[in-house]
Amino acid sequence: MWFFLARRLGLAAAIVVLAVTLLYLMIHAVPGDPASIILGPRATPELKAALRAEMGLDQPLPLQIAGFFWDLLHGDLGYDVFSDRPVSQIVFERLPHTITLILTSIAWAAVIGIPLGCYSAIRRNTLIDKITGVLSVSTIAIPSFVMALYALLLFAVTLNWLPAIGVGEGFLGRLTHLVLPAFAVGISWVGYMARIVRASMLEVLGENHVRMVRAFGMPERRIITHYALPIAIMPTVTLIGVGMAHLLSAAVFAETVFARPGVGSLIVDAVDARNYPVVMGCVLVTTGLFVIATTLADIINGLLDPRTRESL
């Protein structure tokens, strides 16, 4: 177990280091240097030279990258000249809204998707199973931002049932403001979960230990809830870990459509304003989140099922 943990964490660290290096190289492979991009077209050569020195751009590339990592390790994501604040402060101020949205979406999707998948597996090839199958594929295929726009149009603009803009005040306000974005982000996850739980449930139901408890006369209900589901649910852990990237991407659109002040809308605004340091800060933080999520998912799976430890 310890060996597995060390290996998995080592891999995660290696991926983060490589990803950050790639990002840094990418920035510098682009024609035109960052100093002139940050300062805009009207900057004087002296100003550019000063900023270049301040950013360490006059040093050799490996040294620059090392310096970049040194700053990152100290939680320094750079400085935003527009708002005159550290980038890390801006990003971490917005992050809770995005994480709330993602967790709410996953939670409601799991509450509906997992029982739906179970039901489909138990009542295999019935009409309900087939309808669930088609609906799952459809919700997975339809882009989340189209869902967000249609939800906005129907429930906020036309029916005026739910608020459309911002995060709201107080518990109830926050909750009502979460409904539509969480619907848009989570709906495809109902499909994902239903699909994967159905598949793994069918597999588990055919296994020997399930057949044995059935032979002992265990009620079907109890077989499902106590013997099959705990095993069949495991692939969803991996799914959520890997799906963190999809969730973060979907949050970008949901936050833009519903004007939620999260990291997603922050990066869109920053790209619009060509606010370079903030964009990179957002990329680094979300990439870190994604790597943490996949690593955690693998570790949880390793804890639950020793067999997966070897496939690393």
């Binding site: 682009v30 295929a141 699909r195 991407s249």
Partner: protein, 297 residues
Amino acid sequence: MRGATHTRAIGAGRHRPHALMQHWRRLRRDQLGVFGLVLVVLMVGSAILAPWIVPYDHTELMTGGRLAAPTWDHPLGTDQLGRDVFSRLVMGGRVALQVALAALTAALSAGLVLGLIAGFGPRWLDSGMLLVLDAVRAFPVVIFALAVVTLLGPSLWTIVLVVAITSVPIYARIVRTQTQSLRNNEFIQAERALGAGTPRILAIHIMPNVIGPLLILASMDVPLVITMEAGLSFLGMGVQPPTPSWGTILNDGFNHISNSPWPVIAGGIPIILTTLGFTFLGEALRDIFDPKLRKDV
């Protein structure tokens, strides 16, 4: 597995027409697959024939007014400048298809080359390449795309580049796995004993066995690419006006959503129909050609 690859590699040329007929018959029995095929044909057809289908020029300003509701003259209404939304959507299909074709071709070729190298090369090269590919996959796609847009500026080709970069790791990994399972087969060893060099083995014996599953996967990725193009254009980070794209049409509608619901309703329809069409068709094709490809997700 081994037997199957043998027959496919050796008899591929001879039994093609017959096998194709069989596949077609199986596809016809899959109702959703046929539905998907119809949608895909409609989409691709309208994109190719767009200039002859559209009732109006997509840049022409109509006299009927701005943000008008659907009428017989304008089946999907007009936008905030008074342009015919239906004509713009049909032309937008061309952009979507163009991006999908360019991005997937680039990603497929790059993935194929990298995967063959990783699968056939020495072990250290393989491990190193895998690590780099994993690192590229560590970026959430849309957020990575936004970073690239800040660097290169928004355009159709930026989207193509982003989609290509982010899909290469997936294709390369599949090619690599397939190559590794093939490289120790007897027919490859026999070929080598006969004096064939590595390039010849890769090009003539390994690639034909790898490319089939790869094409099916790529066809299933078309909806992802189209979603990406529409999504980035919706954020204003993709195709720039006046070029009509489904995403920019939705964005225009979103900005005027309190005045008229029609541009948003109309703008979403082609995206939904196209993604559904390609997904249903892709699932049917995968079930027919290679059930083993069934991704867990």
